[in-house]
Amino acid sequence: MAIEKTYAEINEKIKSGKAVVLTAEEVIGLVEEKGLTEAARQVDVVTTGTFAPMCSSGVFLNFGHSKPKMKMQKVWLNGVPAYSGIAAVDAYLGATELPEGDPCNNNYPGEFRYGGGHVIQDLLMGKKVKLEATAYGTDCYPRRELETYITLDDMNEATLFNPRNSYQNYNCGVNLSNRVIYTYMGVLKPNLGNAHYCSAGQLSPLLNDPYFLTIGMGTKIFLGGGIGYVAWNGTQHFPEIQKDAAGHSYGPAGGTLSVVGDLKQMNANWLLGTSFLGYGVTLSVSIGIPIPVLNEEVMRCVSVSDRDLYAPIVDYGEAYGQRLPSDLGFASYAELKSGTITVNGQKIPAAPLSSYPKAREIAATLKEWICKGDFLLTEPVKLLPSYRDGIQSKKLEIRGL
């Protein structure tokens, strides 16, 4: 008989302390041992995790009103500009924003020691942050400038709202050119000197729900050490099944999530300002998503291992930047994690940018929350587009009127 469970049934089990919860790593062995049907019968929830740099991140802030009041036109936090083209004392601070006057890559490769992501981390650490603002002044908002120091507690709201996080899968970056390059995939040495990849592989949330059967709008998640929710699909959400030139399938890729949560209940250990030499600043974001084992199909999806999952190998020396096709094949996460992959017949060292030990810790923490009955699952209000929707990426063409 086919296994079918509802969110309500699983939540009843969580409330009564009877739910069986495994991490996406633990469930692999169980399925190998017991088979899909028996594993689906036994396990109610599988937890996933990832902790990596995610550039499309930031926070909506409301500072409260000064006396006299001000309609802030330009806003800086510790010298880092925030977007204030919204209501009077609202602003959006983006993770990749740099301080005014940052030397950037003028002294190549630039260091990028501080930026929006670091301000977010400073706020979470309870530090006082310098707030500066200017305005043109109106009859109702007469103030034209201010300078003060604020903490996270002083603000009315601080809502982390990340337009694109938790990439389903990511490129493995290499460099075919003959010079060292500094990228968001780290430092890549010339002539295939090294490879960098950035995914938790078998623990990664969207690799465990490749067809978006359970993760959707409203899904409650672990975000930044606290609670968050899936708000929508992420930008550049292009879920697909990746294939090589011969048509062989290499599994899912391209899905993304937009996530939201109250920054005030998050934790500075789980949202970290991050610097990439010669590239810029960003925020390392921790995300863990519970997947309800509704049926055997969901169990089949969550039981994938690093051997079954593949990253496309992409040349960042030229192909990536010039938007050229890159046909260097795929590397399995099992190969990538072994530390050596083969590209164009050459063995090269591979290193991660995404913390696997932290991904494991996130999945274990989420498991603990659920087992204690503190964290119930939410049924999505709306499921997200999957590969079946055939979404194609649009390119930006440079043209005149």
């Binding site: 020691r113 490879a195 991050t274 030499l277 072994s338 591979a350 290193a351 932290k358």
Partner: protein
């Protein structure tokens, strides 16, 4: 003439002596103080760059005062609180002093293999690798 980088370690009895003045006045040395932590009646350290023809004599004077003189050996340290074991340093470290333990995938730092090239200090996205004197 290239400057010599040295570390001076003072006992609590010598920290009130004007030794820098003596190095300049009596030994004609050019001094650049990189770091100093000297307090009255306490042990202290100072990191200096010294240049001059009477360099060896100057060192002799320091030793006579009971000051321990060591060549500067910079060391790379890992700030364990900042490191999240992402692994970004492990593909860059030329001597494999930084490596991934398998299967845990934790970053391991073996300072015996570190040649203080400081590449990790530059590439660590979380600024967890630090140079200390």
């Amino acid at each position: 003439m290239a400057p010599n980088k040295i570390i001076l370690r003072f006992g609590e009895n010598t920290s009130d002596q004007p030794i820098i003045y003596r190095l300049v006045k009596d030994y004609d040395l050019v001094i650049n103080i990189l770091k100093a932590n000297v307090n009255p009646n306490k042990e202290g350290t100072m990191v200096l760059e010294l240049t001059g023809e009477k360099y060896e004599e100057g060192l002799g004077y320091l030793r006579d005062q009971g000051i321990r003189v060591q060549p500067l050996a910079e060391e790379v340290f890992r700030n364990e609180e900042r490191c999240i074991s992402c692994g970004a340093c492990t593909g860059i470290c030329p001597t494999h002093a930084l490596s991934l333990e398998r299967p845990s995938m934790e970053v391991k730092f073996d300072s015996d293999n570190c040649i203080v090239c400081q590449l990790c200090v530059k590439v660590c996205p979380l600024k967890a690798m630090e140079v200390r004197f």
